[in-house]
């Protein structure tokens, strides 16, 4: 087992090289070198629309990442307009 996270693992069965695949449905999201979520489906949502416990604000959004195969929610990421995530910051590089 080459576990990456609760729902992702490393496989080489498709391309012979290290790819990220969903451990639930087997969907191959893409090469590991591109980043573990590079192949995920993403959607930005207003936190308050998900639940009222996220007080209404226009300073923060949640970006949700899903497996394109089974739609499992892989990650919830806060997006803060005035404090953007540095692009080179890895998620996890194994």
């Amino acid at each position: 087992m080459n576990r990456i996270s609760e729902y992702l693992e490393i496989t080489d069965r498709k391309t012979g090289k290290r790819d990220v695949c969903c451990s639930k449905c087997g969907y191959i999201l893409g090469p590991l070198s591109k980043g573990i979520y590079s192949g995920a489906v993403t959607r930005n949502m207003i936190p308050n629309e998900i639940s009222p416990v996220y007080t209404k604000t226009d300073q923060t959004l949640f970006r949700l990442y899903y497996c394109p195969g089974c739609a499992t929610q892989l990650k919830v990421e806060p997006i803060v307009k005035e404090a953007p995530r540095p692009p080179q910051l890895p998620e996890i590089e194994l």
């Binding site: 009222p52 416990v53 996220y54 923060t60 194994l94």
Partner: protein
Amino acid sequence: MRENKATDPFTYEIVSHKLWQITEEMALAMKNVSGSPIVTEANDFNVAISLSDGQLSTMGAHNALVAGVIPLLIRNILEDYGSGDEICKGDMFVINDPHKGALHQLDLAVVAPVHYQNELVAWTSVIAHEVDIGGMQHGSPSPKATEIFQEGLRIPALKLVEKGKFQWDIFRMILSNVRQAGLVGLDIKARVATNSVGQARLYDLLSRFGRKVTLSVMQGVIDRSEKKFRERLLELPESHVGAIDYIDHDGHTNKIYKIVLKMTKESDSLSFDYSGTDDQAPGHINCTISGLITGVMGAVFPYICYDIPWNQGVMKAISIHAPEGSLVNCKPPAPTGWASIAGMFAVRNAAIQAVCKLLGSSREHWRQAGGVWEGGKAAPVIMGINQYGERSAYLYQSSGGAGAMAYKDGYDCSFSISSTKPSIPNIETAETFAPALFLFNRFRKDSGGSGKYRGGAALEFAFVRYGSTDVSVGGSGHGAVIPASQGIFGGYPGGFILRSIKRQTNIDAILVAGKIPQSIEEIDGNVEVLSAKFPPTSLDSDAVFYNSYSGGGGYGDPLDRDPQSVLQDVINDIVSPEAARSIYGVVLRRGSVDLSGTETLRKTIRNDRLGV
């Protein structure tokens, strides 16, 4: 198994247990003499025994945060006092300077060298949070502060006791600069007593077992922790992991700061690089290197070292870096008043995220991964004239929730992960000391980050002023517009903190009519949502103050949560029926789970996710 010729395993067990016992006695001495609620109730202090060069050997089981502080304090003392030449038997140092190792000025430390046969062989220390240390506002940190000079007395290492003689001039100097001098003075004496106990008992130990055996066990506990920790690191994958955490509001403006971490696991070491972090802020949220180290250890200790004694041994396998001038390694005169709940927390939260992603990728240790605990504080200070006609300020401590784990929900109402034995006050205690009447105090519905495993719920409460006409409320929290407690692997963050005042309400009419409102929405009036840091705001007789802490981060996709658990959550009022449907995709019919309805709903939600 490493054979230490100097100590057989039984002697090792006896001496290491006695070292622990000494920290227990020191802690009890502190509680006995001090009598201050911060020490006796909140357990906001800790004690430690170190080697002669400051390495932390045994630490007490109270506030877990001193590990990052004590070695720095001692190293600074050694530097300032001629590498030990000027340190004499019977000396004790008082120190609280964040640039000399303290977390922030409110955490006052007294550190004492232990001499045996004319040689400096060890140190005992005690650090405790003080009720006030001077500065521009009662309680010391102020959102208005722009410089460390405004935050109270800053003491580099000074000899509070010199060769056994208590230095009254230094004592008087400290007390003339603080409010509630009586209490602070007592606490200082308590720290002296604590170290006296530690020194005497260490001396007994050294006499009984000899210098060689005692020091070898003190070193031995460090070596064992280092060995076990490195062994565990070798079981984790080589990797780089990134994480970001945020702090909203620096006291002056509602700006959002980012704390950026790149963690690297290589062979049997772990490194934490906070280079991408924002520069230091003009307000009191910064921390110095002590906060940086403490924050990292605040993640590593509970998540990776849950069965390894916490001491220098673990720290040896870790390297930490942040550029000087960064928010998490600030330069003077940056204000650091609330370093302990702002900058340091953000360091810790980012470290928890990174450590958990690392653990989550491990075949052996994935169960140790989880969401972030109570990422920010949200305690209100109730001030003004109390019900006895006195000017007072009462900090009402409540609690957020713990992060969910890979195999269980987060602990509801957990308090900070950095406290081992926390407790929050009873309402009857709060109403005895503060001019307030509480309308409710309970788990906040949906505050626990949703996920396969739910984050722990935070508490929410509301009160009106009671017994006084001069009441204001102020607060310094974080996580009002950003999530302080992030989830992991698809889990949602815990709910934001929320403070609000509803004015011109009909609360009196409601109570007179014999009802007790159970939500702010049930009351008529005008709501003002307060920002993360808000200055003292007065409460009129018809104002209702509301406060909620941050829930714990969730673990995994909520659609994977066992529907029976969701049902139980709804029965317990911890999850709303709306969230049960829209977030968890669970259909409940007449008090039980509709399995086929749930399957269908979850399928619909999944399709919706992919835009199908």
